[in-house]
Symmetry: C2
Subunit: 424 residues, 2 copies
């Protein structure tokens, strides 16, 4: 691999939907997303790789070594959050493309046929900022979400996934490739690697996460003419819910639970009308399902009390529950071996964020790796990772993928002993 050509391509892709403050605005199936997709297809065509687009907009670039063999797939996503960072997702796709190009050259040079074929994937709508739920394309691929249902999901403007993909020319109908394994590299989005001065994380498990869909139903009235005592202000009650969702984390050890409200909409949202309805989404995550369950229980009780205090109705529904997923043990060991060969510092690390690899890990042996995030910030314009760390990550992914196309991990289960995984 040429570090220079990788970096040139990475920084070029960061211009698609670039914002004034070094971020990107490239939400799923927008014109900016199309630019990055066209570039992906052009990169594949230039290398002579077949490109397929499936029925949910996932893009695959296929490199055939063995006619009829399944593919080891490398990838991530090119879509971003609104005013998001230029590393989240895009780094993983660019690393995969360059790792694949390097491997294709080495296979050709060696003249020895590997066990599996190789593919690079750009998953549709990992971010979920425009179309919820997130991790949509890989979850449909893995059979965890229904394609027909997902195609009907609409954004806040009423445009469906099917319409948006059609509009940018990426509602495909190609056959999905058979898959033998999956590897992904991503920025950490936390501060652990940076704090410990390490270059690589071998992701051992994903956190338990769930969301709460909360609807606060007050009564619409006049902000001037209605007496304070006669109001049933949905926004006042909702504000208390937002603070509860934040403060519940204090009931547990520091950082044992993270919990936030990121979406909130108000009706009618008029400056001189007391709100009748507030809809909000809370996101709870922990390494421990028990902590999430306790936090949820505490919130349910406190929310019920707020409803009584304000004489209004609050409906709460669980959704998007994602249980802890363990990555295969021999994948962790493979990452550690490759890191050692490259002289890169490595540690095992959990992911609090969801990733396409979490979905893929449900169906095939999967390796997930992290590289450091400066200051641990992510989903924002000042998200940053150094060129040197990115280049090291591409080398690690190349090493892991090389072993995988030659048969590593093919026989393992994705669910090792849980006690052992938790001890890391």
């Amino acid at each position: 691999m040429s570090a220079a050509s990788f970096l040139t391509d990475f920084h070029h892709v960061a211009t698609f939907g670039a914002t004034d403050n070094n971020g990107v605005e490239r939400q799923a199936a927008t014109a900016e997303d199309k630019l990055s997709r066209d570039w992906f297809a052009e990169f594949a065509a230039r290398h002579g790789w077949e490109v397929r687009v499936d029925g949910i907009g996932n893009m695959f670039a296929l490199i055939d070594f063995v006619p009829g063999a399944p593919y080891v797939m490398l990838g991530s996503h090119l879509d971003s959050q609104p005013l998001g960072g230029r590393f989240d997702g895009a780094y993983g796709v660019l690393a995969a493309l360059h790792a694949a190009a390097e491997i294709a050259e080495r296979v050709a040079a060696e003249g020895k046929v590997p066990v599996h074929n190789l593919a690079v994937v750009n998953w549709f709508n990992e971010e979920g900022g425009r179309f919820a739920p997130s991790i949509m394309g890989s979850s449909v691929f893995a059979g965890l979400m229904d394609e027909t249902e997902m195609l009907q999901v609409a954004d806040l403007g009423g445009v469906t996934v099917a319409q948006a993909l059609e509009a940018i020319g990426y509602l495909g109908s190609d056959q999905r490739p058979d898959v033998a394994g999956y590897a992904e590299i991503h920025i950490e989005q936390g501060r652990i690697l940076e704090r410990e001065g390490l270059t690589l994380g071998a992701v051992d498990y994903s956190w338990h996460t769930q969301k709460l869909d909360i609807e606060v139903l007050g009564e619409q009235s006049h902000t001037g003419a209605t007496a304070m005592a006669d109001r049933h202000d949905a926004l006042v009650a909702a504000s208390k819910v937002v603070l509860l969702v934040h403060d519940v984390t204090r009931k547990f050890a520091a950082e044992a639970l993270v919990s936030s409200v990121g979406r909130l909409t108000l009706e009618p949202n008029s400056p001189i009308v007391v709100a009748r309805r507030v809809h909000l989404v809370a996101d709870l995550r922990s390494a421990s399902p028990q902590v999430v369950a306790e936090a949820r229980g505490s919130l349910m009780a406190d929310i019920a009390q707020i409803a009584r205090d304000h004489d209004i109705r609050i409906n709460v529904n669980d959704f998007d529950i994602r249980e802890i997923q363990y990555y295969p043990q021999d994948g962790l060991e493979l990452t550690e071996k490759v890191a050692a060969n490259l002289g890169l510092g490595v540690r095992r690390i959990r992911t609090m964020a969801g990733h396409d690899s979490v979905a893929m890990n449900r169906i095939v042996p999967t390796v997930m790796m992290f590289i450091p995030s400066v200051d641990g910030v992510s989903h924002c314009e000042r998200e940053f990772t150094t060129d040197a760390d990115m280049v090291s990550g591409v080398a690690a992914l190349t090493g892991v993928a090389w072993k995988m196309i030659h048969g590593a991990l093919a026989e393992t289960s994705s669910q090792p002993d849980s006690t052992k995984a938790f001890a890391s």
Copy 2:
């Protein structure tokens, strides 16, 4: 006046934009607003009255008795809040049309020419739910707001006032009629008349009101991967501001101050992203400017503290400040005399809500009357006033208007002695 024909027309107009729960959704310059405007024009045409539409979409129906004389104007507004009530505004316009028709008949029957001509007005965008600020049409008419500037105000979808009026065919260019006086009748939107068993309120002054435009600037981050300690969550800080705006009313005597946040928007508003920016509008109102000033001071200090606690920026700007306006003394006495003649119970009453009459009172002698609101609720679908009270109100407006076209109030100032007005 025929009570039956007034009620038929009132309940017919309530079908334009009718909602499932007896309210109306008829925001300014929408297709539903156009229906009510077309009906207004048709009513005027049927009575042989000239209709004019001015450059901000105000509609005038002119009844000429004396060539060249100025007009006593009666009216209110046909636009509504989102999911608003069917009485707010529409009652005043319907009452004005039927009062005017009755007066025209009586003038013709008597054969005596009055001092002034008579007009009915449907003011544009009193509610301000779609296009802020509210009380737009009458404020432009009164020279309190700039027409060119108001035509450029955009709704949340980016459509300007000029575009919206053009789209429904009500961006006019007719000359505004000269005005000699103004009278308006409206539902109280509070519980005072109902509690005291009175039919009529003679409005003596409007409350002091002001808004605060508040921008909370945090840092966008990941709801999962970012440690709680590293977050600068704009929504958590904004929720504390919403509660402060509500709780500040408790520092004063019961109902001496009303204060609410009715509008709040979140960026980026994605379920898995900690918000970077929240924009909200607080509305403060009191009979006492000192109370509003004290509440504002208290909020400014507490908001500054929240900004320090969360290490984020909060920008606060005053806007839409409306000082107490007193209605003319002889208008109050006229209302009381007319009520006595009709056998209606009456009292003096302040308005906490803004009205078109508050703007008109700045330029001509103005009378404002209230009829009761059941349960005091308004700006919502269950807003209600009885047919009997509505019919009594039309009779009162007719009586007041009759005196005004014959010269009552023509010589008065609109700013009586303030001590006296406050004593009511």
